[in-house]
C-alpha cells in the first residue's frame, strides 16, 4: 500500500505552523492526520522545508507511540494493558481482539480495516478493562463484547474522516425568535444531532434536516426539493420564519438566520443547491 504524497499538501501543513521550533510534533500530527501514517517521503519533505533534520523528525516519530511509520488500518483499536486493566483481564480482551481481527497486537488486519495496538494506560483505571476504538472508549470490556465493538466501529465508517478534518465541526444552533434549540437528538449524522426545521416551498410543507457539521451540506427532507427553488424555513417550535433580511450575494435569494449557541449567528442561502453561507461568531 503506497500512498501518493502531494508535496503541496505537506508544504501547507508546514507553513501553517510557521516553521516554529516547537512545532515538530504538531506538524507530524497533521501529516499523520492527512495520510493516516507518516510516509517517508512526507518526512523528507518536512525536513527539507523546516529547520529540523530528518534525524530529529525520525527520532520524534519513533519515540511517540501515537506516530506510525507504517500504513495503519482505517480503524484504530487500542487495548489498555495498564495494571488495573491487566488484573481485570485485559489479556483475554486483547486475545479476543486478536482472534476477531486475525492480527497480532501492533499489526494491521489484511483487509486494511483495523490496526490493533496495546497501550499502557488510558487513565480510566476504574473502568477497566478499557478498549479504545476510533477514539470511543469502551468500559468493562469482556472478551464476548469485542465482536460487537468491532461491528460498531465498522458501521460508523466515514465518521472518523469527518471528525479528523478540522474544517468540519459541529455547530449548535437555536431559533432567533424563541431561542430554543433546533438540534434533533433522534437523528444523528456522523454521531452529531441534525438541525431540524420546517421547510415550505410551492405547496409543499414538511420537515427538513440539515447536517450540523459546519462545511457539510448533507440534508434530509420530507419532500424532494428541486434544485434552484427558494425554500422558506420555519422554527418547528414557535413557527416563526427564520429570515435574516439579507440577500444571498450569489443568487439574490433571502438568507435564513440561525443563532449559534455560545454567541454568533449563521446565515444560509435559502435557495436549494446554493451553498452560500455566512458564519459570524463575533456577534
Amino acid at each position: 500500500m503506497k500512498t501518493r504524497i502531494n508535496p503541496e499538501d505537506v508544504f501547507r501543513i508546514v507553513d501553517k505552523h510557521n516553521n516554529s521550533q516547537g512545532a515538530i510534533i504538531s506538524i507530524l500530527e497533521d501529516v499523520q492526520a492527512t495520510y493516516n501514517y507518516l510516509p517517508e517521503a512526507a518526512l523528507r519533505i518536512v525536513a527539507s522545508r523546516t529547520s529540523h533534520s530528518l534525524v530529529d523528525l525520525f527520532g520524534v516519530a519513533t519515540f511517540y507511540r501515537s506516530f506510525s511509520l507504517e500504513p495503519r488500518g482505517k480503524h484504530i483499536a487500542s487495548v489498555c494493558m495498564g495494571t488495573a486493566c491487566h488484573v481485570r483481564g485485559s489479556r483475554q480482551v486483547l486475545k479476543s481482539f486478536e482472534d476477531n481481527l486475525r492480527v497480532k497486537a501492533g499489526g494491521t488486519s489484511t483487509d486494511g480495516e483495523f490496526s490493533l495496538s496495546t497501550v499502557n494506560c488510558v487513565g480510566a483505571c476504574a473502568l477497566g478493562p478499557v478498549a479504545v476504538v476510533d477514539g470511543d472508549y469502551y468500559r468493562n470490556v469482556k472478551d464476548g463484547d469485542v465482536s460487537g465493538i468491532l461491528d460498531r466501529a465498522s458501521r460508523i465508517d466515514g465518521a472518523l474522516k469527518m471528525t479528523d478534518d478540522e474544517r468540519v465541526f459541529a455547530v449548535s444552533v437555536s431559533c432567533p425568535s424563541c431561542n430554543r434549540s433546533l438540534l434533533n437528538d433522534e437523528h444523528l449524522l456522523d454521531g452529531h444531532p441534525m438541525i431540524r426545521v420546517t421547510a415550505s416551498f410551492g405547496r409543499k410543507h414538511g420537515w427538513i434536516r440539515l447536517s450540523s457539521l459546519y462545511g457539510d451540506y448533507r440534508i434530509q427532507s420530507e419532500y424532494a426539493i428541486p434544485k434552484g427553488v427558494v425554500v422558506h424555513f420555519f422554527c418547528p417550535r414557535c413557527h416563526a420564519e427564520l429570515r435574516s433580511g439579507r440577500l444571498c450575494p450569489d443568487c439574490d435569494a433571502p438568507t435564513i438566520l440561525l443563532l449559534v449557541r455560545g454567541g454568533g449567528t449563521i446565515q444560509l442561502c435559502s435557495r436549494s443547491g446554493c451553498k452560500q453561507h455566512f458564519l459570524d461568531l463575533g456577534g
Binding site: E40, S53, V55, D56, L57, G59, T62, L69
Partner: protein
C-alpha cells in the same frame, strides 16, 4: 565568580562551569565515558556521578551536566559515590563486556566481576557519535531512534543518509565499537572505500599535513595491482 567546596577544598570558578570542570581544575579525578571535550554535556552514562549537599541531605548528580552553584558542597569520592560508580560499571560490563574502554574503567575502579545477566550489546547509547555527527561534523546523519529498550542509534529508515560524508568520526569517538577499518570484510566496512578502490585518503599525497584519524587504518598504504588485492596481501597489510 562562584565559590564552592569540592572534597573540602574551596574553589573559585567562572559562572557556568560544570562540577566536572571544577573538579578537574582542582585535580580531583572523575571518571567519564559519555563526556567528551568539544561535545555538549549529555549525562548519559552517569559514570561522573558526584554527591552534592550536606551529609544527610545529599544527593547524587552527574558532574558533567551540573553547573557549579554558590556555596555548593561536593564530594567526588565518598563511599556512596564509589559504590554507585561501581554499580554503573557493573551494569556497563553486563551490556558491553567486549569494550576495552569499559574494561579499563572497571579495572581502574576495582570492579572484577559483574552480577547481572551477561549481554553482548554493541551500543551503550552514550550519544557520543550522535553529538559528534551533529556538533563537530555538522551533518546530523545519525540520531537516536525509538525509546526504552528499543532505543538505538542509526540513520533514519536504516538507509544510508544523504548528509553522511563517511567521515568516520562516529566510529572514532565510540567507546564501545572501537571499529577500525574493516576493508578485509567489505560487506561490514562503513565506507567500503578501500575495498571499492576509492579510499577516502586517496588524495593524501596532495597534502603535506594530511592526517588520518583512523589510526591505524592503512587503507592508503595498500598496494593495488589491477584493482585487486590477493588474500595474502590483505593479510600482510593487516599484520
Amino acid at each position: 565568580m562562584i565559590t564552592l567546596r569540592i572534597n573540602g577544598v574551596t574553589a573559585h570558578v567562572e559562572n557556568g562551569t560544570t562540577l566536572l570542570e571544577a573538579a578537574e581544575f582542582l585535580g580531583f579525578p572523575i571518571p567519564t565515558l559519555c563526556h567528551m571535550d568539544g561535545l555538549s554535556p549529555y549525562g548519559a552514562c552517569r559514570l561522573c556521578v558526584v554527591e552534592i549537599g550536606e551529609v544527610g541531605q545529599s544527593r547524587l548528580v552527574s558532574a558533567c551536566t551540573y553547573p557549579a552553584e554558590e556555596g555548593l558542597v561536593v564530594r567526588t569520592a565518598s563511599s556512596r559515590v564509589v559504590s554507585n560508580r561501581k554499580m554503573i560499571l557493573e551494569l556497563l560490563l553486563a551490556s558491553c563486556p567486549q569494550s576495552k574502554t569499559i574494561q579499563d574503567l572497571a579495572a581502574a575502579h576495582e570492579v572484577r566481576q559483574q552480577r547481572f545477566r551477561q549481554e553482548y550489546e554493541d551500543c551503550i547509547l552514550c550519544g557520543r557519535c550522535v553529538r559528534m555527527c551533529e556538533e563537530q561534523m555538522m551533518a546530523k546523519a545519525i540520531g537516536f531512534r525509538g525509546r526504552g529498550e528499543n532505543r538505538s542509534v542509526g540513520t533514519p529508515f536504516d538507509v544510508k543518509s544523504e548528509v553522511c560524508r563517511l567521515c568516520g568520526a562516529c566510529m572514532q569517538v565510540c567507546p564501545v565499537c572501537e571499529l577500525r577499518c574493516t576493508f578485509t570484510e567489505p560487506e561490514k566496512a562503513i565506507c567500503g572505500g578501500c575495498a571499492n578502490l576509492s579510499p577516502p585518503c586517496v588524495d593524501m599525497n596532495e597534502y603535506e599535513d594530511m592526517m588520518c584519524y583512523m589510526n591505524p587504518c592503512v587503507a592508503c598504504e595498500i598496494v593495488r595491482r589491477d584493482g585487486e588485492l590477493t588474500a595474502k596481501e590483505i593479510d600482510d597489510v593487516v599484520v
